[in-house]
Symmetry: C2
Subunit: 430 residues, 2 copies
């Protein structure tokens, strides 16, 4: 049975994602109505620069006064696709105060201030949904929060940034260096003019914070996430990875400690075996691998960005939030009952792949091995290669605390026979 009075939707932001949302709401109005049980009406579109509104966006709905739109009093759902902290945060809070539920694609805001936003939603009996904030169109927030609600998630391992995956995939398939691959990504529109947020891992760190919070029923903010970008990954690193039967990916890794009493969240480049399902994720695709007690290993794969894919996630949330409105209910809110501490990077247990340039003389390997032993780090394999009086030593360790691995590397740098540490990379996914 269809309700005839439409639900009113305010759209904040009308860039790449917002204009797709407006387009689909118009062209697929009948389908949306059937799936919700009531028609939805786009009641207003707030933009900063009305002269830049794309073709096909209904001009009569456009306003520059986002606050007035949100305060109108008849808005059922606010869709926020502005991004960034302010004015998005203020507008979302105002929306809740005026009885609207909110669908957001804003990873930075949710990662920085999710707890306060959830509290505001709950205080006003409203919904806050943000499937689009993590890995674009790939359903992740809903599967983690709902499908796995009866399971215990222990680990989330994801490629959650398409720009950096494109760059690493190019480096892997063509042998190109980082700068060359970045140039190609920029030329093809996969990287922005200022690629900092992607290549330094800020974007992935925001997503890691959101994923860790939902997966472990705790609170993790972007400040809790250890972050290393991929700007220092070299063609030599990629070649080393290949020799080990691995590839290099920028991974977001969220883990529950073995004793269950703490969690960690980190973003950094890492080698993963070619046999791992994440290794075959090419180009700008994203994928998230989830390990849980009962379900075992799951993977979710798809486009992690782009106007249409992100709009798909926004509209899936819109349908859910509208259904909740009609039922007079709200969906699952923040679930942070465990409040587990987030351990620092030093406590993460992982493996290192270390390339050293060393003097090519007897006793060097023994010296190096002694340093590892002194720091309690066990060596898995060593490969030694001589060239013109110099030699290189590639050491892969067994699992150890990151702090121990890091201080081992520090001590190696002090050795006279070690000319330099050519690269250090963690090995994951084994």
């Amino acid at each position: 049975m269809m309700r005839t009075r439409p639900l009113k939707v305010a759209l904040l932001g009308c860039g790449v994602v917002g204009s797709e949302v407006a387009r689909i709401m118009t062209t697929h109005a009948d389908d949306l109505a059937n799936r919700i049980g009531a028609p939805v009406e786009l009641a207003g579109i707030a933009v900063r620069r009305p002269d830049r509104v794309r073709a096909g966006v209904p001009a009569e709905l456009v306003t520059t006064d986002a606050t007035a739109l949100v305060k109108r009093g008849d808005i059922d759902v606010v869709i926020e696709v502005i991004g960034g902290i302010e004015p998005a945060r203020g507008l979302i809070t105002t929306a809740f105060e005026h009885g609207a539920s909110v669908v957001s694609a804003n990873k930075a805001l949710v990662a920085a201030d999710g707890a306060a936003l959830h509290a505001a939603a709950e205080a006003h009996g409203a919904d806050l949904y943000y499937e689009a904030a993590v890995a674009g169109a790939i359903p992740l927030v809903r599967p983690l929060r709902e499908s796995l609600a009866g399971d215990k998630v222990n680990r989330v391992l994801g490629i959650v940034n398409g720009t950096t995956n494109f760059i690493l995939d190019k480096m892997d398939s063509t042998g190109a260096g980082y700068s060359e691959a970045l140039d190609e990504a920029t030329a093809l529109g996969y990287a922005e003019a200022d690629p900092t947020a992607d290549v330094e891992g800020f974007d992935a760190a925001a997503k890691a914070a959101i994923l860790a919070g939902i997966a472990f029923h705790t609170r993790v903010t972007i400040d809790d996430v250890h972050r290393e970008g991929l700007t220092e990954v070299t063609a030599a690193d990629i070649a080393s990875a290949k020799r080990m039967g691995c590839t290099v990916k920028l991974l977001a890794i969220c883990e529950r400690a073995a004793d269950g009493a703490s969690v960690t969240a980190r973003v950094h480049p890492a080698m993963i075996p070619l046999t791992h399902p994440l290794a075959s994720v090419r180009e700008a695709y994203n994928a998230v691998f989830v390990e849980s007690d009962a379900a075992g290993q799951l993977m979710f794969y798809g486009p992690g960005a782009g106007g249409a894919p992100t709009a798909s996630a926004v509209l899936g949330d819109l349908v859910a939030v509208c259904r909740n409105k009609l039922a007079g209910a709200t969906g699952p809110g923040e679930s942070a009952y465990t409040r587990l501490p987030v351990s620092p990077m030093g406590e993460v247990v992982t493996r290192y792949h270390i390339s050293l340039d060393v003097a090519d003389k007897p006793g060097v390997l023994a010296q190096v091995a002694t340093i590892f032993a002194e720091h309690g780090v066990s060596i898995d394999t060593v490969r030694q290669q001589g060239k013109d009086g110099e030699a290189s030593l590639v050491v892969v360790t067994h699992r150890a605390a990151d702090a121990a691995l890091s201080s081992t590397v520090g001590a190696l740098r002090e050795l006279d026979t070690v000319r330099g540490v050519a690269s250090i990379m963690r090995v994951e996914g084994e």
Copy 2:
């Protein structure tokens, strides 16, 4: 805020899945309570043979009278993991009549009679959830029904039966024939003593029916699904696929016609390119590839069967259904507003890979090519191989209606120069 009066759950069936459900409900009671907002209590477990109940299942809850348990009047949620049509159907209907919502893992029942079950649930204001019915632990029903509710799904392509994927993976990796690979699957517990439901595609067809219905917002029953098993796939077929850069998978394929006015659903072995994400799904894993207008290409991967993975899906549904109960609401029910006709297999557009044994004399290729042309089927590639006066001809077609391809093969069999049709296989995922 936690409600203290527990929600009461009746468990019907306590085999591999049911005993895992009972175990997790006991060991993870606190987590479930926190996620639901109220404690859940296992109020009774109906089994056929109480002497066979596994260790760890609370004996005092076991009963052989499932009907009396469901009719008790204080049951909030019934979990049905018996399988098969009856008595499961009668018990689920009785559960709705007594005010309970239902979580089921029963693909056969949902695929045969989903519409009536949904109607019964709706009539009594109850929920019917069955994430576990399709591909075990992999979240599929919820992503298709909720995450993609604002999108238009055009195609679902899935490996939804672990037994047959294990058999085909063994044939591919070891060169074994079908019987040998089946024996290994049986020995390792991947295939049942009577493997008919798996190897003849009945299990996959039930899942295809459920997926098609949810993806296209229409009604598809198992009788609408074209079904071919994998018993006739030979080591030679696998070798042929390899030469084409493909592998063979038993696929469940649900498609919306190009004009949007009808749908098709089918299960059969097919060659897919090694570059397709489904090609790398090994052993007994399942994966489902979804193509939609806005989201593009998504894939969901994980264990498709087994006690613990299926229990994970059941418990995720249990949490959702319990939350709905507390909110006095119900989740999304059947969405079949499009009521699209299901076209027969003959109208499916696909490609064929055909191996012919032919006489090794001039003019044979011309004869064969004429037959294809007469049936309006365009040839993509032909490969000819001579051996001892005989020759083999491998033809790969362009896309054509299955009926045209099928009648082409019929006409080829009539040719004197065609000694036999060694194999026919569809090519998908390109």
